[in-house]
């Protein structure tokens, strides 16, 4: 088994350089936005995510390697295996990501990434601290069982993450039509980070936007409706610890007040915003209100 490097670690200098370049472009053009404290929070959350990966990553990898012992096929290291692994890893990412927006347990971990009201390259590094706790890795386990070498799966996952870095920008408008049709792009991903009712819960793709087109979750960006970034209930603080844990604390508080198993289940497995008395807003409630008003552009 080849000893592959971690592509994300190798890409860190490029991440830093591109953030500097984007800051200079924002300064020069006035397009896009940075806020020093928001940027610090994003980068601090990225740093914490790296620490979390060092703590929990070994256990997750050990589970994958253990599952690999029971693999269905010996896929090996041929060139087509790399391509297939990359595509299937992205397919697994799509379903993880969709679940992360539709099930509060997974959202509690993923919300970190959406907790900024800005959309720039530093936002891309605003990564979860609690992914292993939410068991987000289970979506990737079938690849180990299928028989892709663990090192190949991890490498492809790293490449997927690197691809997703550059799409977190307002500097790039639209790319050639063929590219927008197949690949995830800054335009598609801006929609994903937007809280406008029209854009909520859309464009879950990592690399290939075709998954959203296939499974009915694609929404195009509209020139007449700029994206409003963040979460439905934006944070009132730049504290990275609040960003990292607030939804988990919310789940714990709701569980403490739940009066039945149905309510407890809803608090954990319901969509974000679900509440027993309907006093909070899910995507469906927000969108229904917006549709009742005639779907106005913001």
């Amino acid at each position: 088994m080849p000893d592959l490097p971690d592509p994300v670690t190798l890409a860190i200098p490029a991440f830093v350089g591109l953030i500097v370049l984007e800051m200079l472009l924002v300064r020069a053009t006035g397009r896009g936005a940075y806020e020093p404290r928001d940027t610090f929070t994003s980068l601090a959350l990225g740093f914490g995510s790296t620490v979390s990966g060092l703590i929990f990553g070994g256990a997750v990898l050990a589970l994958g390697v253990w599952l690999y012992r029971f693999r269905l096929f010996d896929i090996g290291w041929s060139w087509w295996a790399w391509g297939l692994c990359f595509v299937l890893d992205d397919f697994a990412y799509y379903w993880f990501h969709r679940t992360a927006h539709r099930v509060r347990w997974f959202w509690a971990s993923h919300v970190i990434h959406h907790s900024s009201q800005h959309y720039n390259l530093s936002t891309a590094l605003r990564q979860t601290w609690t992914g292993p706790i939410s068991l987000a890795f289970v979506f990737r386990l079938p690849l180990f069982l299928a028989g892709f070498p663990p090192a190949m799966i991890l490498f492809c996952g790293g490449l997927n993450l690197i691809y997703q870095f550059w799409i977190h920008t307002e500097m790039v408008d639209r790319l050639p039509r063929w590219f927008e049709a197949v690949m995830n792009t800054p335009s598609h991903h801006r929609v994903h980070h937007a809280t406008n009712p029209r854009y909520l819960d859309a464009n879950y793709a990592g690399v290939f936007i075709v998954w959203d087109r296939l499974f009915g979750s694609f929404v195009p960006e509209r020139a007449d409706e700029p994206c409003r970034y963040g979460i439905v209930r934006n944070l009132g603080t730049f504290n990275p610890f609040v960003a990292a844990f607030h939804e988990w604390i919310g789940i714990a508080r709701d569980l403490a007040h739940a009066r039945s198993w149905r309510e407890r289940w809803g608090c954990v497995a319901g969509p974000p915003g679900w509440s027993p008395d309907g006093s909070r807003d899910t995507t469906e409630i927000i969108r229904a209100r917006w549709q009742a008003l005639g779907e106005p552009a913001e």
Binding site: V26, Y34, E35, T39, F40, G230, N234, D281
Partner: protein
């Protein structure tokens, strides 16, 4: 292990330098709430079910003197809150009137919200007293 520690240390230094560069470049203007109408619109953007109450042709509520926060009364009796955070605004529709404490230059609202636990409203003493009375009279 040493390699990982070096990466962490380098990342931390890069974080501090990038945040400093962002400040040196003067990125991120400070947001201010221009008017109560703007505050009402911000709350409505946050929650479409919120309609600001109108009084004498104006949005009913209180705008802090520094433009950093505003409390908007809703047509249905609910309260909307808007706070400046960096160059953005954060809005809430409050399920119940907040606890109010008198501060040296206004009021401090205490919310049951870990992501926005307290909000300072810079007000004159007279405005602070009037708002305290009005909030105290809410059910």
């Amino acid at each position: 292990m040493l390699g990982q520690l070096a990466i962490l240390a380098g990342s931390f230094i890069a974080i501090v330098l990038l945040a400093l560069l962002c400040r040196v470049l003067g990125l991120g203007r400070v947001a201010t709430i221009e008017s109560l109408a703007a505050a009402g619109a911000a709350v409505r953007r946050h929650q479409l079910s919120f309609t600001p109450a109108m009084g004498d042709g104006q949005t009913a509520g209180v705008l802090a003197r520094d433009g950093k926060a505003a409390l908007v009364f809703g047509a249905d009796g609910r309260l909307g809150l808007v706070v400046a955070l960096g160059d953005r605004l954060v809005a809430r529709v409050l399920p119940r009137p907040p606890a109010v404490e008198t501060a040296t230059d206004g009021l401090t609202l205490r919310l049951d919200d870990i992501t926005l636990p307290r909000v300072h409203l810079a007000l004159t003493a007279a405005d602070a007293a009037a708002l305290t009375d009005r909030l105290g009279a809410l059910p």
